[in-house]
Structures are given as structure tokens and as C-alpha cells.
């Protein structure tokens, strides 16, 4: 019914006084709908505080005949290409997701001199450096607060407040699904399968949960965090990814007993040489660590640097309203910039070396089942020592009559040295099984 470019938008444009900024929204799912609602509700307050009136000019959808609660049907159009090029639209709000077509729309928007506000982590993790450069060339903003840990205003902090900071590491709980599952396992002793089923029942996990539980969603976010924290081009493919599928109730209870919690972390680090390590993996964190108390589907990003020491941002990682709230903040920002004829650049991104996983450094937890005999512990300790892997702590659990479960935590070690250690330990006659391996953050 509304196949050509929205006449509604043109009508809006005609009514505009000069302090009005017209927003073209791509997509009208949960986030797009919440965005339109928030702008409608907050327009007066925004005008009072910024002197600028934000108005929705058009909303692109696949099916313009379907009703959307809280969105005026006359704003709907199926012509997303028309929105990004329309001369009466000032700012593009991208909530449609997807990669190739969305990228083309974004480049077209830049070409029409329109800044873009996006929550699209996949697109940014794959093509972020290219998109930042295109926005710069066009002299417009690409704002992405909602793309990582959607409800936390930390991207702006990384880009602006901390741009002069020598960030050494950022660690994030950036996937609400896995944090919900691990919280259920920790607090209620649930098995992985039961916690996943519960998350699916509540709508926190997809029917095919691979993107979340496999760590891929967090991997995209790790690439974006690394790019902005270090000013270097880091892409999804640069991130080493391990998911939470192998975490058992036993692992959780071991961790609890030792004073740790298990969280799926996105970890990005820059060494003094400038090389960048970016990883996603289940991680043991001391229960006193600020990230340890981030429960359920909440997200948090913990940043360390020479000047700031430690900073953490905590909030809703997803959801229509929190995501849309951050996009409203971005929309105001890019609209103010556009009116002033300026834009915020991320600068020229560097191309720092990516540390291969074999060379990366971490402390490790490993559980080993071995015969409960004199000399066995010495043999195992020797295997660690001969690869230069130093043991921080060891605990023995009584498992069965003649097999003891030994739980080790190492000091920081090079990944390949640790893997060689495990191979050597496996070869010992007295060792029956090398069980779960987890990385550990000790401070």
C-alpha cells in the first residue's frame, strides 16, 4: 500500500521549522518501535534541553500494511533506499540489522551527507573500519553506542572521555543470554541444559542458541570494543572464540568453592609493543571482582588503563527500551553535530598486529584425575615446571577411592606452553583424565 517513498515524510518536512531534525528510521522491530515511542514521548524535554526538536519522518518496514503499536501508519514505507537519500531527512537510525544490504544503505546515507546511528554489531564487526572511513570522508557521524552492551553508554566514553587514555585491557560481559545461563547455574545449581531451556522459555535465548552460547555474538562485540579502545582496526575474524557449551554444574561448584565465578568474557588487550589480543571465552573471576556481581541478563564492561586505573559500566545489554534509549542519545549527538557542520571521527585506525591465540598469555584452571599414589603430584608438577608454567594454587578433591581429582590454577602462562604441559600431563601413566580447562583472571 505504501511502496514508494513515504509521502508522510515529505509532509512532515514541509511543516518543519528550522530547529527540527528529521529522523529516518530503518526497521521497525522491537528496537525501532521503542525508538519511535521514546522520541515521541521525550520530544518536548529534548527540545527544552537541546533547543532542537527531533521528529520521525519515516520508518522503513518490509510490510507497510502491518500495524505497529505506537507507530503512526502513515510514516511507514517499504522504500529504505528512498529514506537514506531523501533530501528532507537529516539523520538515519538503523535498526534493521543484516549486513550487505544494510551496508549499502549506510554508504548511501553517508553519500547523501546523512549521519547514521546504528545498533548493528555484525555489520560493524565485519566492516567497521571501512564504514568509519566512509563516514569520515563524507564528513558525517557514525554513532554506535547501542551496538555493544546496548543499554550502557560506554562507547562514547571509549571514543571521547578515554581517547587520551592508554587503555591496557577491557573485559566485558557483553552477552545477556550466556550471563543468564551461567547465573542460573551458579545461583540455582542448574545444569547447562536446564538453564539453556529456561533461557529459551523466557525468550532470552533463541531456538538455535549457537550465536550466543558459542560466543560468536560476544566475538563481534569484542572486535568493536578493541577497535575503539585502541584505535586499531580489529575485525570479527581477529577474535579467538570459545563458548560456554562445555561448562558443567561441577565446574561451577568447583569455582564457587574456590571463591570464583565463571563468566563468558570478551577480553581485549594491548601489549606495550602495540599488539592486540582479542578473545572470548568462559573465564574464572574472583568473586570479589566487580564483574563477578553482574547477574542475570545484565551486561558490564570493565576497562583498565594507566590513568583511570579501573572503570566499569553496568546496565541492560539488550531490550527494546534500553537499546532505543542509547540510540536517542546518539541521535541527539549526531543531530547537534550535523547542525554545527562537524562530525566526530575515530581518527585514522591503525593496523596493529593481532596476537595469535598460541602466543597469548593468561592464567589457567585445569582439573586432572590421577591415581591417588605417592609421587604422582610431583610428576604432574614436573610437567608444568618443564614447560615453564608456574603453579599458583592446587587443591585435591576426594573423588573416588583410588582416583583423586586435582585442581590447578597457574600463574600467567603462554597458551602454547600450557597446552604442551597438558599434553605431557596426559601422557603420564597415573593420569586418568585431563578435564575442564578455563582461563582465570586473578586480579
Amino acid at each position: 500500500m505504501c511502496l514508494t517513498f513515504s509521502k508522510a515524510a515529505i509532509a512532515w518536512a514541509a511543516m518543519n521549522s528550522s530547529n527540527t531534525v528529521r529522523l529516518g528510521v530503518l526497521g521497525c522491530g522491537t528496537v525501532g518501535t521503542s525508538f519511535v515511542q521514546l522520541i515521541t514521548e521525550q520530544a518536548d524535554e529534548i527540545e527544552r534541553r537541546t533547543g532542537m526538536r527531533l521528529e520521525i519522518a519515516a520508518v522503513s518496514v518490509r510490510d507497510a500494511s502491518k500495524e505497529r503499536a505506537g507507530v503512526d501508519a502513515s510514516l511507514l514505507t517499504t522504500d529504505s533506499d528512498g529514506i537514506v537519500t531523501h533530501p528532507d531527512i537529516d539523520v538515519i537510525i538503523e535498526t534493521m540489522g543484516g549486513v550487505d544490504h544494510t551496508k549499502a544503505l549506510m554508504l548511501s546515507a553517508f553519500g547523501s551527507g546523512k549521519p547514521v546511528v546504528t545498533a548493528n554489531k555484525e555489520l560493524l564487526a565485519l566492516h567497521g573500519p571501512e564504514l568509519f572511513a566512509a563516514a569520515d570522508t563524507a564528513g558525517v557521524d557514525l554513532a554506535l553506542e547501542a551496538s555493544v552492551a546496548a543499554g550502557l553508554p560506554f562507547i562514547r566514553a571509549l571514543r571521547e572521555s578515554l581517547v587520551g587514555e592508554d587503555v591496557s585491557r577491557a573485559m566485558g560481559i557483553v552477552n545477556g543470554t550466556t550471563n543468564y545461563i551461567l547465573s542460573q547455574m551458579t545461583e540455582h545449581g542448574a545444569s547447562y541444559d536446564n538453564a539453556l531451556a529456561e533461557a529459551q522459555r523466557l525468550g532470552f535465548a533463541e531456538a538455535d542458541p549457537t550465536a550466543d552460547v558459542g560466543g560468536f555474538d560476544a566475538g563481534s562485540k569484542a572486535a568493536i570494543i578493541a577497535t575503539l579502545a585502541f584505535g586499531e582496526a580489529v575485525r570479527a575474524g581477529d577474535v579467538h572464540i570459545e563458548g560456554i557449551e562445555t561448562i558443567t554444574a561441577d565446574d561451577i561448584s568447583n569455582a564457587t568453592r574456590m571463591g570464583y565465578v565463571i563468566k563468558l568474557l570478551a577480553v581485549v588487550e594491548q601489549s606495550d609493543s602495540g599488539a592486540i589480543a582479542a578473545r572470548v571465552h568462559p573465564t574464572m573471576l574472583p568473586s570479589s571482582h566487580p564483574l563477578a556481581s553482574v547477574r542475570d541478563s545484565f551486561n558490564a564492561v570493565f576497562v583498565e588503563g594507566a590513568g583511570i586505573d579501573q572503570i566499569m559500566f553496568y546496565g541492560r545489554g539488550a531490550g527494546g527500551h534500553p537499546t532505543a534509549a542509547m540510540m536517542v542519545g546518539d541521535a541527539i549527538d549526531v543531530a547537534l553535530n550535523k547542525r554545527a557542520g562537524v562530525h566526530r571521527s575515530v581518527g585514522e585506525l591503525g593496523s596493529a598486529a593481532i596476537v595469535p591465540i598460541d602466543d597469548s598469555v593468561s592464567a589457567f584452571y585445569v582439573s586432572i584425575d590421577a591415581l591417588d599414589q605417592p609421587g604422582v603430584l610431583a610428576d604432574i608438577a614436573n610437567a608444568f615446571g618443564s614447560e615453564g608454567v608456574s603453579i599458583r594454587s592446587m587443591e585435591q578433591e576426594n573423588s573416588t577411592d583410588d582416583v583423586a581429582r586435582l585442581v590447578f590454577i597457574t600463574h600467567d602462562a603462554i597458551e602454547s606452553d600450557f597446552r604442551k604441559t597438558l599434553a605431557a600431563v596426559s601422557d603420564l601413566d597415573a593420569v586418568k583424565n585431563v578435564g575442564q580447562v578455563l582461563r582465570v583472571v586473578c586480579d
Copy 2:
């Protein structure tokens, strides 16, 4: 030795290429020194990421003959008035503290078209609305990230990311000294006096600790948070203030037993009518609350709103490096804005009504010593009920043979109703003592 305006600054200016921004620093204490060091160390990286070179043009001190580690002596001058008006200085960094003279310098800087970056909470809490208006009139920035919870980039989030958000409440642990003292009491069972003495020994508390332990420092910060969170003019005098001096080891252990921690919170709330309540007081928080795990001298600010749900910012509240790091972020921001010929306004601040403390609403904790006799609890419960104060929970502790300690937590109640309840309870013959009263945050 250096009484006139720094020749060094003029020399710097002469060397400047067009991408250089010259900073005039007022004050060279811990923060000023750290700021100069950070700029010196990070200048190359900042230039790479922003295209702009930041240089220290001059630093004002009281005694220019005193050496300052890491600060080139030729930059020092005693002429702060000269710095704020010098045509070759672009941005003013105010780290000197103080109110009247500093305010005059700031207004003079605005008059010379210079944006100001400040960490001066006293000045902003007393004269913030006037200073914001003066900066606006001059068309320059007044940036204040480091004025509240210095090492947390949350002011920018309030001013920018959340400017379109309907914030209902912000609660902050914004004083490191009191948080250190309360953490020591909670974790080590220390008495208030011993914890204070330890804080003084470690340099976390002043010889005269009144400004911190009396809640006055947090009160200044509450006024600034309320102003920016709600876009309303709120001043230090609008904030109801109670300190932590009366908190005992008993109070702490009662709270722990009941699953709470005690924190000194700055609480600012805006009701649906638009009226603002701003208070600083010791507060019982459930131990599962994100603010409950903020330990030692760390700070955090927890913000609630319709869109964002809950957000928390966590980090170092003070210290030369964290404070200076945030001021570097601000300096980059205002320098970019100045080059672009734009500035960030807080908009026209409203003048919302301030809720008197008698009319404010909170849940309360109170401990009451009463004779251990039949009917006493009913009499006390009646006293609550007749003022419309609803009891959420009650616990009885066995204190002595014939006197029982009763600990009540109420549902939300109007302050004056609760005070009337306490007066009525005091008048009961069986009641021997009405002890500690604390406000409670239940969710």
C-alpha cells in the same frame, strides 16, 4: 621570579602549527601535575586519534620558584589572570580549587572566548547554574567530568547519552573516604573511630574529616548530579545532608545479618510532578544491589530511568591520575568543539521545586529497645499504623533478660509521618530507647 605572564607560553604559541591547541592550566597540585604529565605522555596518541596536538602553554602556581616533578619550570607563572585572558591560549584547565577567585577567573576565561575544563565541585555546587549560563552566553564549553566521582566518565553520559532519557533517580557512592571507612567497618568489624583513624593514616581522610564524614562533599556532588540528570538548577543548599558519624559496629553487624550493607549515598529523585528530592545519608542497601559491592575508596553512580532501566558507572572517585585522565578527555572534547566553533549547552535549566525533607519518601530502618512483655509489640505496631507507616519486616534480637531489641524495616513512608511514629513510640512506657534510624533502599 616569574611574576608577569609566562613568556614560555608565548614561545609555545609562536611554534604552533594550526592543528595545535594550547592549554592553560590553573593550579599545579596533584591533579594539575598529573594532567601535565598525561598530556605530555599521550600527545602523540591523541594527535593520531583526533588530528589535534594538545600542548601545555602555561601553568599557574602560587610560588613559581618551587620545583614540580614532571612540569617544565619555564611553564610556571603566578599570573592566573594572565592565563585566562591570553590570546594565545585556547582552553583553560582549572585544577586550583577555591570558589570566589576561581569563579572570577572562569568568567574571565569565558569572556575571552575560552572553554573551561574543571574538577571544582564546590564552585559548581554553589554557582553551577550561573556558570553554565555564562558559558552559554559566551558560546563556549564548561566541562566538568572530573567534578563528581572524578575517575568515572558518567557526567558526559548524563549530559549527552541520557539527555533524552526520563531519569527518575540517581544514587551515588561519591565520597571515597566514607566508603573506605564503611568498608573497613563491614569487612573487618572495625569501630567507626578506628576505621576513621586508619583512613587518616593512609591519607584517605583529612585531619579534620568533617567535609567527608559529615556528608558535605557528597552534598555538593548531589547538587551537580541533580542539575545534570534532570536539567534543573539544584544547588548545594537544596540538599538534605546527614553524615556517617553515628554509624556503629552494631548497626553494621545488624545490617549484615539482615542481608544489607550500609553505604553513604547521594540520592536525587524527580517525581512525576517534576519536584526534586536531593539527599545525602547513610543508607541500607540489599547486599545483592550493584552498589553494595562497591568497596574501599571506589565510587559508583547508579542511574534509573524509564528507557535505560538501570545503569551503573564504577571507578576511582579521586586521585591525581584518574581525575586528570577525565580532564584530558574533557580537554580533547572542548578543544574539538572550539576548533569547530561549537559548544555543548546544558540547555536552559529549569527551576523545579525542591521537596522538603519532611515531605520526602523513603523506607526506614529503626532499632527499638523495649520491655520483653506481652502486648508491647502490638502497642508499637499500633503507633506505626496510626501514622500510616506500614511495616515491611520486624526482627527481635535477644539483648538482655527483660529488654528486647526490636528491629523494624518499613515500606516507603513520608518522612514526617515516620518521625511522628517515632515520637509516639518513644512515649510508650514499655519502650526504653529508640536507637539508630537509617533509610533503606529495598530494590
